[in-house]
C-alpha cells in the first residue's frame, strides 16, 4: 500500500455540510483508481486531503506506513507525483527546464543538477513521448503537448504513485485517449495511480476500480461493472442514464433524452 486515506472528513470554514464525509480509499502499485462524481462532490477535496493540503477534521492519511503529517513536503514529492487541474504559464520556460523542477525536492538549494537528475528528466519525457519537445518553450505547446509535459514532470519525480486531477479537461478525443493510454501504461509498469475524471466511459475502460462520490460521501466503490449502475448513476448525477456494454465488456453510459427509456 502506497497511500491510504481512512474515514476522511473535511469541512471548509463557514460551511455547514462537510465537503468530504468519512471517505476511505487507497493507492496500490499497479492499480488505476478513477474517482468520479458530479461537480462539487468532493473529488478535488479528497485529493487535497490525501496530500495534506487541507486540514482533515476526522480520519487519517498514511503514506508508506507513516502518518502523512510526519512527512516533510519535499519528502512527499519523492513518493507522490501530482498533476493538478490547472497550471497557468506566466513565466515561459524550456520544456526540459520545467521538467527538471521535478528534481528540486531531491536537490540542495544551491546544488547543480546531477547526471541522474538529467537522466530522470530524459526518461520521463521519453515515456510520455515528449523528448522531442525538450527545447520548445512551454507557452508554444498545444494543450495535449503541455499535458504530456506535465505528466512527464510528475514522472521525473520518480514517484511510486501518480495522482491526476481531471487531466483531460479541454482536450480533444485523440489527446484524451493519449493521456488515458499513457496513465494505463505507467500503471501497468508498476505505478499506483489515481485519476479524477468526468469521463465515466473512459474510466470504465481504463480503470481497475472506481470510487464514486456524491455530496462528499462515497456512494460506490469497486470494479467498474459494479459501480456504474444505471439507477445509481441516474440518482447521483440527477439525469436519467442507460448503461450498455462495449465489446470488451466494460460498461458504457448513455445519457437519455427526455421520453427515452433504458435498454
Amino acid at each position: 500500500m502506497i497511500l491510504q486515506g481512512k474515514d476522511l472528513t473535511v469541512r471548509y470554514a463557514g460551511a455547514e455540510a462537510p465537503a468530504l464525509d468519512r471517505v476511505s480509499m487507497d493507492v496500490r502499485p499497479g492499480r488505476l483508481l478513477a474517482v468520479v462524481g458530479p461537480n462539487g462532490s468532493g473529488k478535488s477535496t479528497l485529493m487535497k486531503a490525501l496530500l495534506g493540503l487541507v486540514p482533515v477534521e476526522h480520519g487519517t492519511v498514511v503514506l508508506r506506513e507513516r502518518p502523512l503529517a510526519a512527512w516533510r513536503r519535499a519528502e512527499i514529492a519523492t513518493v507522490l507525483g501530482v498533476v493538478s487541474q490547472r497550471e497557468e504559464i506566466l513565466y515561459p520556460l524550456r520544456v526540459e527546464d520545467t521538467v527538471l523542477m521535478a528534481r528540486y525536492a531531491r536537490l540542495g538549494p544551491l546544488a547543480a543538477p546531477r547526471a541522474e537528475d538529467h537522466a530522470a528528466v530524459r526518461s520521463a519525457l521519453e515515456r510520455c513521448d515528449a523528448w522531442a519537445l525538450r527545447d520548445r518553450r512551454t507557452d508554444t505547446l498545444s494543450g495535449g503537448e503541455w499535458q504530456r509535459v506535465r505528466v512527464a514532470r510528475a514522472l521525473a519525480q520518480e514517484p511510486e504513485a501518480l495522482l491526476l486531477d481531471e487531466p483531460t479537461v479541454a482536450l480533444d478525443v485523440r489527446h484524451e485517449m493519449e493521456v488515458f493510454e499513457l496513465v494505463r501504461a505507467l500503471t501497468d509498469g508498476g505505478l499506483g495511480s489515481v485519476v479524477i475524471t468526468h469521463h465515466l466511459n473512459l474510466a470504465a475502460r481504463y480503470a481497475d476500480a472506481l470510487l464514486m462520490l456524491d455530496r462528499g460521501r462515497a456512494v460506490a466503490d469497486g470494479p467498474p461493472g459494479e459501480v456504474l449502475d444505471a439507477g445509481l448513476l441516474s440518482s447521483v448525477f440527477g439525469w436519467p442514464v442507460a448503461v450498455t456494454a462495449w465489446r470488451d465488456g466494460s460498461p458504457q453510459l448513455v445519457p437519455l433524452r427526455p421520453g427515452e427509456t433504458g435498454v
Binding site: 470554514a13 496530500l51 493540503l53 516533510r72 513536503r73 519535499a74 519528502e75 512527499i76 514529492a77 519523492t78 507522490l80 507525483g81 501530482v82 493538478s84 490547472r86 497550471e87 497557468e88 506566466l90 513565466y91 515561459p92 520556460l93 524550456r94 527546464d97 520545467t98 523542477m101 521535478a102 528540486y104 525536492a105 536537490l107 538549494p109 544551491l110 514532470r153 510528475a154 519525480q157
Partner: protein, 324 residues
C-alpha cells in the same frame, strides 16, 4: 544563460564601476584612479577614495539589491510587473524621512534611520493584513495591501510636506527622488553588512522561487514548503528594499525593469536570474547615477528621475515585444 552572456554582464558591470569612478563633476585621470587604489596622496586619488568609491559602490549594491528584490517579488506574487516598491515601502519610508526632515532630526543617520523605521512599519502592517486566517500569506493581498497602506502613508507625507517650510520642502522632495550624494564609507559599510542576510536568503530561495512561478499548488506538489518560502521571500525583499530606500531615497524602475529584461535575456530560472539581475541592476544604477551627476554638471539630477527616463522606454519596448 550562456557563459558568453555572463562574461558580457561581468564586463559591463566592471565598466560601469570604472566609468563611475573616472567621470563626474570633475573627470579623473587613469593615474588618479590607480593612485586611489595604491594609496597615492594626490588630490585626485583622495577625491576618488573619499567620495567616488563609496558613492559608486553603494549605487552598485543598492541597484543590485533592488533588482534582486524585484525578481524575487515578481515570482512571489506571480506578476512580472511587480516592483519592490509596490509593497508599500516607498510611502512608509518617505513618511519617515519627511518627518525626520521636518523635525530636523540630527546627524547623518537621522533621515535614513527614520526612513528605515517607516519602511519597517509599513512592512509590519502589510504583513499583518496579508496573513489570512492567521496562517496563509496571500500574495494578492500583499500587493493590494501594499498599495493602500503605501497610499495612506503617502498622503500623510504630503500633509507633513505641505505644513513644513520651503527649505525643508526642497530637501524632502530631493530625498524622495533618490540619490547617492550623501554616500560615505560608513553608510556603504552599514548597508553592505546589513544586506548580506537578505541577499543570501533570497539567493538560497532560487529553486523555491522557480516552483512558485508555477502557482502555489503546483509548487507544493513539487515539494516546496510554500508558507515558509513565501514568508522568507517577502520579509527578505521588504528588509532589503527598506534599507535601500533608507540610504538612497526612492529609486523606481530598477527593480521592475532589470529582472524583466534579464528574464528575457536568457535567465528565466532563478538560480541564474537572481545573480544576473543583481549584476545588471548594480551596473544600471551606477550608470544612471553617473548620468545624473554629469548631464548638467555641476548640478545633479535626482537619480530616480534618470532611472525612470531610461527605465520607462525600455519597459515599454519589452511590453510591446512580449505582446507581439
Amino acid at each position: 544563460m550562456t557563459p558568453r552572456r555572463w562574461l558580457v554582464l561581468g564586463i559591463a558591470s566592471l565598466m560601469a564601476v570604472v566609468m563611475g569612478l573616472l567621470l563626474g563633476a570633475v573627470d579623473i585621470s587613469w593615474a588618479g584612479l590607480v593612485g586611489s587604489v595604491t594609496g597615492s596622496g594626490s588630490v585626485e586619488s583622495a577625491l576618488v577614495r573619499s567620495l567616488r568609491m563609496p558613492r559608486v559602490f553603494l549605487a552598485f549594491l543598492v541597484g543590485g539589491s533592488l533588482a534582486l528584490s524585484g525578481a524575487s517579488l515578481q515570482a512571489l506574487v506571480r506578476n512580472p510587473l511587480a516592483d519592490p516598491y509596490l509593497v508599500g515601502l516607498s510611502g512608509g519610508a518617505g513618511l519617515g524621512a519627511v518627518i525626520a526632515i521636518a523635525l530636523h532630526l540630527g546627524g547623518p543617520w537621522g533621515v535614513p534611520l527614520a526612513a528605515f523605521a517607516g519602511a519597517l512599519g509599513t512592512i509590519a502592517i502589510v504583513y499583518r493584513l496579508s496573513v489570512v486566517a492567521g496562517r496563509r500569506l496571500d500574495p494578492h493581498v500583499l500587493l493590494l495591501g501594499g498599495v493602500v497602506v503605501g497610499a495612506f502613508a503617502g498622503s500623510l507625507m504630503s500633509a507633513v510636506i505641505t505644513l513644513s517650510s520651503a527649505s525643508e520642502l526642497r530637501s524632502a522632495m530631493l530625498w524622495l527622488l533618490g540619490g547617492f550624494g550623501m554616500a560615505s564609507w560608513p553608510s556603504l559599510a552599514v548597508f553592505a553588512a546589513y544586506a548580506i542576510a537578505p541577499v543570501g536568503l533570497l539567493l538560497a530561495s532560487a529553486r523555491g522561487l522557480d516552483l512558485l512561478t508555477l502557482g502555489e499548488e503546483n509548487a507544493q506538489h513539487l515539494g516546496a514548503d510554500v508558507e515558509v518560502l513565501k514568508r522568507r521571500v517577502y520579509l527578505s525583499v521588504a528588509a532589503l528594499t527598506g534599507a535601500a530606500v533608507a540610504v538612497s531615497g526612492i529609486i523606481g524602475f530598477v527593480g521592475l525593469v532589470v529582472p524583466h529584461v534579464m528574464r528575457r535575456w536568457g535567465a528565466p530560472l532563478h538560480r541564474e536570474l537572481l545573480p544576473a539581475a543583481f549584476l545588471a541592476g548594480g551596473a544600471f544604477l551606477v550608470a544612471a547615477d553617473l548620468l545624473s551627476r554629469s548631464l548638467f554638471r555641476p548640478l545633479e539630477l535626482p537619480v530616480g528621475v534618470v532611472t525612470a527616463l531610461i527605465g520607462v522606454p525600455i519597459f515599454a519596448l519589452q511590453l510591446k515585444r512580449s505582446l507581439a
